[in-house]
Symmetry: C2
Subunit: 301 residues, 2 copies
């Protein structure tokens, strides 16, 4: 029996009779193929990438496993539709804190229409993509079993300032989502360490400095971890994954400088949180963030 | 007595009664201040940067020395006009081969008008800026005392392909500019080595991964060397310098991901020439390049 994913923080959602991705109980994620060239491009990417022997294992682990395409009953009741069958990235997780970060100051690829370019450029300009090289597309932070997940409003996230981005990256690894100052209590075990998120981002960066096969536009990095494990003094299993490949194009011998630039910018933000967690530039911003909502763990958000 | 610079390969030139930069015989370069906000921004940048104690010496050496501003008789006969007084970067050189590379896939900064953005976006799209993260804005390669300098046509350079960019980067360090295949004879002594251009670009890259004070739009890297010294088995004095700061903006705590991405892309091109100079992907392109012109050393180009 397919169901709506519990921990999806960005993109189209399948609840309320809409078309969106589904998951099964064996760890697979069914993403409806977009009918236009985006669907075709995403299939082409997964097909090519999953059989590309030049991609080293320590890099391919950052991508969802690909199990082909399959006709599946669509979530909007429109009948059997082709879906990408992928790894359900949060399958083995209990209460994952998840952040979806769209990488690149430019989210449009080389083959877009003039109209599409202007639409993307407007969104990139109004969001943090243009100034920061990335934007936060969605997130959930686990609080407690009682309070459930804290999810800021998506609409608010689309137009936040640099300091608010910095604050959310701190809040993501703090013990209390409603505290007036994020304490970054889990920064060292989530962002830091040899298996932490910064380390993984740096591995990805080294690959992007060299690979000239793929250019990733409007692609996201998911950052995930389990706060409860950290509270138990176990590793919170910090992990990054790349998702959304409807705008991947051939690199034609050139590095993906748009993705790489944004990735380096994100790396700088995370590094600064590790070196100066007490930096006060994000004080006074909490008012804004608290316009956002808290959803219970079983919430319908 | 001020005169027109001999080795300027890009930008407005002062010959033919036009407004452009001048040099004196003591090693100073006089750049007319653009009357609008561009002139003000360039003065502000040089003033701030030249007194910025956070910039390490091994980075500030990549920038022209700044000697303030001065009223100077303008080259177009319009009378005394304010000029930036800068270091003449080719003052101590004899027959410099020079390449001007505008860095960044986006050449417009955060405060441009909608009209200016569309104009720059069009130019970035039609040139190699968008696909490669940089574009070649001008170059001269010294041949021999008899043949003088080889300079490709600027108009042609504005719309060259990725393979043609690669070819020009090879030709720049080859022994014969008219040979049908560039031999990259000087690649190892110009691009390579601990004091070569690649090394210098990597030092610059490390700084750009960290610095969050300045964002450089439409700024160029000049690459220079002396072919005759290489022929004499001496160091050809390979050197990079950054120029053109009319579109530098405050970084406000964010790295310059646009410049950094383009710089990493250029680094990848140069690295590939050092590791696989014999790569054949640039064959068959020479016809195009030979539409370009050869100018004698004392030429009026």
């Amino acid at each position: 029996m397919l169901k709506v994913p519990a921990h999806q923080v960005a993109g189209h959602r399948a609840d309320g009779g809409k078309l969106g991705p589904l998951v099964d109980d064996s760890g697979r994620f069914y993403k409806p193929l977009q009918g236009d060239e985006r669907g075709a491009r995403e299939v082409a990417f997964y097909t090519s990438f999953s059989s590309d022997s030049k991609v080293p294992d320590h890099i391919s682990r950052f991508f969802p496993k690909f199990y082909g395409t399959q006709l599946v009953e669509a979530s909007d009741g429109s009948g059997m539709k082709p879906h990408l069958v992928l790894q359900d990235l949060t399958f083995s997780r209990v209460h994952p804190s998840v952040m979806d970060i769209k990488i690149g100051s430019r989210t449009w690829g080389p083959e877009e229409s003039a109209e599409q370019i202007q639409k993307c450029l407007k969104k990139d300009t109004e969001s943090s993509s243009l100034p920061l090289g990335f934007r936060l597309s969605g997130m959930q932070i686990f609080g407690t079993k009682e309070s459930g997940f804290w999810k800021p409003e998506k609409k608010w996230m689309q137009s936040i300032s640099t300091d608010e981005v910095r604050l959310l990256l701190k809040k993501f690894v703090s013990s209390d989502t409603s505290a007036s100052r994020p304490d970054c209590a889990f920064a060292s075990v989530v962002y830091g360490g040899s298996k932490g998120i910064l380390s993984q981002l740096l591995e990805l960066k080294a690959w992007f400095e060299d690979q000239t096969s793929y250019h990733f536009f409007a692609c996201s990095i998911l950052m995930m971890f389990e706060k409860e494990l950290a509270l138990d003094r176990k590793s919170p299993c910090p992990e990054i994954k790349l998702v959304d490949f409807a705008h991947v194009f051939e690199g034609r011998g050139v590095i993906d400088h748009n993705f790489l630039g944004g990735l380096c910018s994100l790396i700088k933000f995370i590094s600064e949180i590790l070196t100066t967690p007490e930096d006060s530039s994000t004080n006074g911003l909490l008012e804004d963030v608290h316009r956002s909502h808290v959803y219970p763990e079983n919430g319908s958000a």
